[in-house]
């Protein structure tokens, strides 16, 4: 059996201290300890450094492990490494994949084009358009008068007044509340205008030209 040299034996010190040597290696090492004072000193130094490092552990500031773990999870979530819910995580990954896909963008454009073409092709060629605008009132007889009724005028009072002066509404109201009324008794225009102007429900009355 070949005995190890002191330098080789020194390399075994950590393994000896950790109890990782085989029984035979340990016996050889302990025999060498008796023969080599240098090896004894080296072993003592290892033991002391080891002791000091373990002592130093007591001086390491305590760690709030729970807080660090929560902070880690928060960091991971903020980094988008995980979603809170595994299902949400898969959904997020799917949506992220969809919205970063060029194919999807072109697909959306194609679908929009198809919808527009379908709508255009279904419009009837002779559609009778109806709008909210009217043509200018065509009054063939009588005289036209511009009238603005007061904001608080009641409908029945307006109707009664128009009946009294023999007038009918031919247009209105405009956004400003202007009506055009037709007066059949044109010869009485002056008196009718005075009657209208004197009415408490009329703001403004003037012949229209």
């Amino acid at each position: 059996m070949r005995f190890k040299e002191p330098d080789e034996l020194k390399e075994l010190i950590p393994l000896y201290l950790q109890g990782r040597l085989t029984r035979r290696e340990r016996e050889e090492f302990e025999e060498a300890l008796r023969r080599y004072p240098d090896l004894q000193r080296e072993l003592k130094e290892f033991e002391e450094i080891s002791d000091v490092l373990r002592d130093l552990e007591k001086e390491v500031p305590p760690l709030d492990a729970e807080w660090v773990f929560r902070k880690t999870l928060q960091r991971i979530r903020n980094d988008g490494v995980i979603a809170k819910d595994p299902l949400l995580k898969r959904l997020t990954a799917l949506l992220r994949g969809l919205f970063t896909s060029y194919r999807l963008s072109w697909g959306i454009v194609a679908v929009q084009c198809i919808i527009i073409l379908l709508l255009v092709s279904r419009i009837p060629q002779n559609l009778p358009y109806k709008t909210l605008t009217t043509q200018s009132p065509q009054v063939t007889s009588g005289v036209r008068v511009n009238v603005v009724f007061k904001a608080d005028a009641r409908v029945e009072d307006v109707r009664r007044l128009l009946r009294e002066v023999g007038a009918t509404i031919v247009w209105g109201p405009s956004q400003e509340g202007l009506y055009i009324i037709k007066i059949e008794r044109s010869k009485e225009l002056k008196s009718i205008l005075e009657r209208l102007r004197d009415s408490p429900i009329v703001e403004f009355a003037e012949r229209a030209y």
Binding site: R54, L56, P61, L63, A65, V68, F69, V81, I82, K89
Partner: protein, 185 residues
């Protein structure tokens, strides 16, 4: 493979599938060692905590990349080491990271009176370079084999042995500089 190591393997597999409970269990079984390692080389609680958060963020992200070349704990310490070294570089402390080769001093520690000896040793260790503190921690505290340390630090086993030797010699030199005379030892 030891039982707890097999358990950690299994936890890493679950973490790679997004299992937060497994992540918490792995954290609880390893954070203490990782924190001690970080504190030992960084010597600052706040920075050690910050790097710890970063370390476990990387563990979560890279769990699927774990191939088992080392034990799960060594793998995590390896991640912590890379991040800590980056932090030290960022702080432009690389001069301190560099290994300082010094001359040997004969047996210094052995006969210092017990209480005084430990106080002096503590102070001396804190004065070592990051690499020397690290190697002493891995050998004497983590009790990793030279081969495991070589894998962790990505260097040949002989370099590990040399570094351990110089770390001890530097420690002796620091002790001498601190006024620990040979006749006091």
């Amino acid at each position: 493979m030891a039982g707890h190591e097999a358990r950690q393997w299994n936890l890493l597999k679950k973490i790679s599938e997004g299992d937060e409970d497994a992540f918490k269990e792995l954290y609880e079984s390893t954070y203490r060692r990782v924190y001690l390692y970080l504190y030992r080389i960084l010597q600052d609680r706040q920075t050690a905590e910050d790097i710890l958060v970063e370390t476990y963020t990387v563990v979560w992200k890279d769990a699927k990349r774990f191939r088992g070349a080392s034990s799960p704990t060594s793998w995590i310490i390896g991640i912590a080491r890379n991040l800590a070294m980056n932090e030290l570089r960022r702080r432009q402390e690389h001069e301190e990271i560099d290994e300082k080769v010094v001359g040997t001093t004969d047996g210094v520690i052995t006969r210092i009176e017990d209480h005084y000896r430990k106080k002096v040793l503590r102070e001396a260790i804190s004065k070592l370079s990051v690499k020397h503190r690290e190697i002493l921690h891995l050998v004497f505290y983590e009790e990793l084999t030279y081969q495991e340390i070589a894998d962790l630090l990505n260097m040949p086993v002989n370099t590990v042995k040399t570094r351990v030797f110089y770390a001890k010699e530097t420690l002796k030199k620091v002790l001498t500089e601190m006024g620990v005379r040979r006749d006091e030892i």
